[in-house]
């Protein structure tokens, strides 16, 4: 799976979780600017587990890797 495909999948999932149109969600926008709080963030992690079979909750969840869709997709790509 390419990074772009992962980004597309993430936009799809985050759009459902945040109740926002996919067009409003850009890959470089920080999650907190998308109105995502800790519960929303954990919902994204659960979505990642279901979609990519990756459990990330026990990892460090550093801002560098988890700040926005672009960095998260790159992180997932490295883990896959």
């Amino acid at each position: 799976m390419t990074v772009e495909e992962i980004e597309r999948k993430l936009i799809e999932g985050i759009s459902t979780i945040t109740n926002k149109n996919a067009s409003e969600i850009t890959v470089g926008k920080a999650f907190h600017d998308l109105g995502i709080d800790s519960m929303g963030f954990v919902e994204i992690l659960v979505y990642i587990e279901k979609t990519f079979k990756l459990q990330l909750i026990a990892s460090d969840l550093t801002k560098k890797d988890f700040e926005n869709i672009r960095s998260l997709a790159a992180h997932i790509n490295r883990k896959l």
């Binding site: 999650f31 907190h32 109105g35 709080d37 963030f41 954990v42 909750i57 460090d60 969840l61 700040e67």
Partner: protein
Amino acid sequence: MLVSKRKRYLSGSDWVINTLDRMMKSATCVGNISQIVLQLDSTLQQNEVRNALNRFVKKFPVISGRGARDIRLAPYWKIPRKNDGEISFHTAAPDNNTSPDGNFTFLEKSANAPFRDKRDYLSFQFLPNGGRNVIAMTFDHRLFDARGAEAFLSLFQQDIMDGSVDGDITFVSSAALTQWSRKFRAGQNVNRRIIALSKSTPEQLPIHREGSGAYRYRLISFTPGETEDVYKRAYHEAGYLMESTFFLAVIIQAMHDLFIRRYRTRSSYLIPVTVDLRPNADALQEIFFNYVSYFFYQIPVQEAGDQPKIIASLKQQMYDQVKAGFPKDLAEASQLTRIAPPSILGRLLHLPLEGKMATFAFSHLGKSSYHHGDFMGAKIENLFHMPRVPVPPGLGFFTNYFNGRLNIVLSHLDGLLKDEEVQMLEDGIRARCGVPKT
């Protein structure tokens, strides 16, 4: 779906809040209310504030509604055509304005004062406080949850700016008398979780029934610089966007220190944590009523002194509960409780966990739903909440972030904590946040 300006069905969460209101009245003589406080940097004219709030509140007939049941027994909020009543508006006496302590005493008093009558769900407090006004809105939780109350005041400010707000809201709601198998399945999931939690009776501070029934508060407010440091530490120790987990871990340890000073603790701490399930935070009709559900976190006493362990456990418990759909199941299953009158439901809520429903309550509001930097032209220096926590446990911690500042409010039933214990909790929280009071 019912689309109506005069009737809005109550959800399961609303019904539980109604029940808590009744339980609070019976235990403390005052209902399940809270207060939102705005500290301003300058003075406003008392009459201007009162008149503007009066005009605004009158736009909302829903504010003078009342609970009722329809022919199928589904509970709903009956909304009159007009809201004619004058708002309840109190001004602090001059002797309250001489010191921050005087202000806080006034705010504590208003947070504990019953409303004028049973159709009253709001009152406003005005503290001239020298050159720096304090405005507070005391509200009944049957009308708003904390986010809704912030959004309501935000709407007031919007209306001051452009006069655009129309309060005659069309509510879309459902009696929710279908899809019973889904509700029962959700109920089974909730029961399983409660049974798992019941294996260990949670630690709880003893409630003295002879107390005044009033709540006392401690505001732990961080400067913008301190707040930045606390968030950096939170993201470093718990992970990005996991500040609420960090705050809760810090509070658990401070509470653990208190418990081991008082008792030989053996079992575990149980903490219900509020979750906002609002589907669309910006919708006008979602300002009113309740959209909360809960996570339940359990930390064994023997782990409560180890911060990394607590953080890892809280994160995993949150993950497991989101994955299992627990907060949504709880909201769904609570629809089933609506058939029970609050007097009976109140008794049922006490059955599990030997009546010890929690060690303390916790809520993190995060980013404010008050979207302006000022109130009627006066800059807001800080905004925080003073809730009365349902009994038991009668003890709770509430964190919010406003204008670069983190606030932690400790709310406790009078007599539950000694003054030096409150100070010990503040010192423990500040130290673990990395910003001890200088």
